[in-house]
């Protein structure tokens, strides 16, 4: 029963005085590595991709990168915070609709009304709640703040009453369902099932022009990098550690004097803001926002990329989201049915048998390599189970 735990190989090297800076907590080198990583990513997105991809492929990539932004948020809320949010489509949609409303109004000109409103012919003038979106000073902040406000409202009600786990997942999904039904029902002012389509201009730039499409792509790529930097700071901050603690032992954290509801709320609201921004940028990239893009099904599809890449890692969700979105395009063009089977299979295989996602394979390979990762890297659920198994044996 005594010292039965095998010491992890990595950390035994450094019996430094405790109050020194811990060995794996970076002074210079890892920070350098991060900077190099970001530079590499930036080079890939800003130089290589525009060079090797056709205009068409580049605009597809822009779309994938928007999905990846949502994934970054889900990685924080779900991977780090344990909140499986199945309603990110709502926030994506709020951002997207806010942006699309502004662009539609800008297309229509100062006195005009969006084309679909005239088409359905029920309205003589612009509905009141559309009006503020004519101003970019309202519409642009709204793409992020609106989703954050909704997440704050729902989250503060729900987390404070300790609605969590599956209950929370189902509620978030119900929110997506309600939002879609509302949008479809209010066809006269929302465009109904069609959504807001046929968006022509983006702050004075013609979206049909490939050069401007390229500009939109660069904006999206830059935003994704910025969000990744934000997510990285969040994950490695004290708050990030606290969030993991709340995920693994909400009650325990409460007994340490924290209110877990606020901790979770921050992650949820941040994730919502990221999804909103993604939705807003999705609109100029694709030219449409509609209920079919934000309902129950797309909302849960946002999650699969995160699961495939590795929910608790920083880059996993991004790479997973892009890979899944790419595979979807590649396969569903040729074999539409096959893709659905494959997607279903992905959910089953990855979540059931590789809960740490591809990132856990990567981590495993590195450990085999001998270049043992520091203990704190092992945050994947896989590592958790391994750790649990290791300690269970002697207790039995």
């Amino acid at each position: 029963m005594t010292a039965v735990t095998p010491a992890p190989p990595s950390t035994a090297v450094d019996p430094a005085p405790v109050s020194a800076v811990p060995p794996s907590r970076p002074g210079g080198r890892p920070r350098l590595r991060t900077a190099a990583g970001f530079a590499f990513g930036a080079a890939l997105l800003f130089a290589v991709a525009p060079l090797v991809l056709s205009d068409f492929r580049l605009s597809l990539l822009a779309k994938y990168l928007c999905v990846a932004m949502v994934a970054v948020g889900i990685g924080i809320a779900w991977g780090r915070g344990g909140m499986l949010t199945l309603g990110q489509g709502v926030f994506f949609g709020l951002g997207g609709y806010a942006m699309a409303m502004h662009l539609k109004l800008a297309d229509a000109g100062p006195a005009g009304m969006p084309d679909f409103m005239q088409l359905y012919g029920q309205l003589d003038e612009l509905p009141l709640w559309w009006r503020p979106f004519a101003s970019p000073w309202f519409a642009l902040p709204a793409t992020v703040l609106l989703p954050m406000a909704v997440a704050f409202g729902l989250g503060s009600l729900v987390f404070r009453r300790r609605v969590r786990g599956a209950y929370f997942a189902i509620l978030s999904q119900a929110l997506a369902a309600a939002m879609v039904i509302l949008l479809i029902g209010q066809q006269g002012t929302t465009g109904g099932t069609n959504g807001l389509t046929d968006i022509k201009g983006f702050f004075g730039y013609d979206l049909d022009d490939p050069v401007n499409q390229r500009m939109v792509y660069f904006i999206i790529a830059g935003t994704l990098l910025a969000l990744l930097a934000l997510a990285r700071q969040l994950i490695h901050s004290r708050y990030g550690e606290l969030l993991v603690a709340v995920r693994d032992g909400e009650e325990r954290v409460r007994f340490l004097g924290y209110d877990p509801a606020s901790v979770k709320l921050v992650a949820y609201v941040v994730a919502a803001g990221m999804a909103g921004l993604a939705g807003a940028l999705f609109v100029p990239a694709v030219g449409i926002i509609s209920p079919a893009l934000i309902g129950i099904v797309p909302s849960i599809e946002f999650v699969i990329g995160v699961a495939v890449g590795g929910r608790a890692t920083l880059l996993g969700p991004v790479l997973g989201a892009v890979a899944v979105a790419w595979a979807r395009t590649a396969l569903s063009e040729r074999f539409p049915g096959t893709w659905t089977y494959l997607q279903g299979l992905l959910f089953v295989v990855v979540v059931a048998f590789l809960p740490g996602g591809l990132a856990s394979l990567w981590a495993l390979a590195r450990r085999r390599d001998g270049s043992a990762a520091p203990a704190r890297r092992g945050w994947s659920p896989l590592a958790r189970r391994r750790a649990a198994r290791r300690t269970e044996v002697p207790a039995a």
């Binding site: 004290r238 603690a245 007994f255 704190r376 750790a387």
Partner: protein
């Protein structure tokens, strides 16, 4: 660290019931400042439920005061911020965080958002001191999930120390520990109680005899007996409760009668 204020715990007529079943039935007890009080009793006596009530996990009627503060009716995290800390029967450290991170989180409930948003640099003094006290300085960087059972319990106690808890409520801290680990834990309790009040739920009678300063025996949700170890052992009602419940013999106390 703490200790500038040493407070006692005062429990008055506390009752807890679940769907008609009364788990704690009017318990009153006084734990003077700096005491190491052991709560014992057969399974189902209401020991853990009493601690749950004190820490706000279950709703209770009556009054619980720590120093001047009334605890009942406050949410769990507020009670915790008044200096009440507890451990659980099953160890509940954050297994995917390192020992250091566990302690740092425990130390940080009063931190503002500005501090939370930044990285931890270095080791806060109180965390370093706690690492020494609980003897895990060498393992600061290890994941808590890789610690041995006893070490996890110590980490929990360490978390209470950095949390600045002035009342420690420990639920079976030495269950499943080896003899050496028990001794170390007992010594730790004595160190800790110099400037804190400690309440321990424990079945291990040997441990109790060595480290308890006072004992309260609960039975069926009520206080059955109270006093020093010797007084309680001599109490015929206590002997009857333990001997009259052969089912409890496994968990109850070998050698209470000795």
């Amino acid at each position: 660290m703490s200790g500038d204020r040493l407070d006692g715990l005062s429990v008055r007529d506390v009752r807890v019931s679940f769907d008609g079943f009364t788990a704690v039935d009017g318990v009153s007890l006084e734990v003077p400042a700096g005491d190491i009080r052991f709560l014992i009793g057969p399974n189902g006596a209401g020991k853990t439920t009493l601690v749950d009530a004190i820490t706000g996990l279950v709703r209770a009627t009556g009054s619980v005061r720590f120093g001047a503060d009334e605890l009942l009716g406050r949410p769990v995290h507020r009670i915790s911020r008044l200096g009440i800390g507890r451990t659980f029967q099953t160890s509940s450290v954050f297994e995917e965080l390192s020992v250091l991170q566990n302690l740092d989180i425990a130390a940080g409930a009063r931190r503002g958002w500005a501090t939370l948003a930044r990285r931890r640099r270095g080791v806060p003094d109180e965390v370093a001191a706690a690492l020494e006290t609980i003897g895990l300085a060498e393992r600061a960087e290890h994941l808590a999930g890789t610690l041995a059972h006893g070490q996890k319990q110590w980490l929990e106690i360490g978390m209470l120390l950095v949390q600045d808890a002035r009342l420690l409520l420990l639920d079976e801290p030495v269950a499943g520990m080896s003899h050496e680990e028990r001794d170390a834990t007992g010594a730790l309790l004595e160190t800790v109680s110099r400037d804190r009040t400690v309440v321990v739920i424990e079945h291990d009678m040997d441990f109790l005899r060595r480290f308890a300063r006072s004992v309260t025996v609960l039975h069926a949700g009520r206080v059955l007996s109270e006093g020093t170890v010797a007084q309680v052992q001599a109490d015929p009602r206590v002997q009857e409760v333990y001997l009259g419940h052969p089912v409890d013999a496994g968990s109850a106390p070998t050698g209470l009668e000795a």
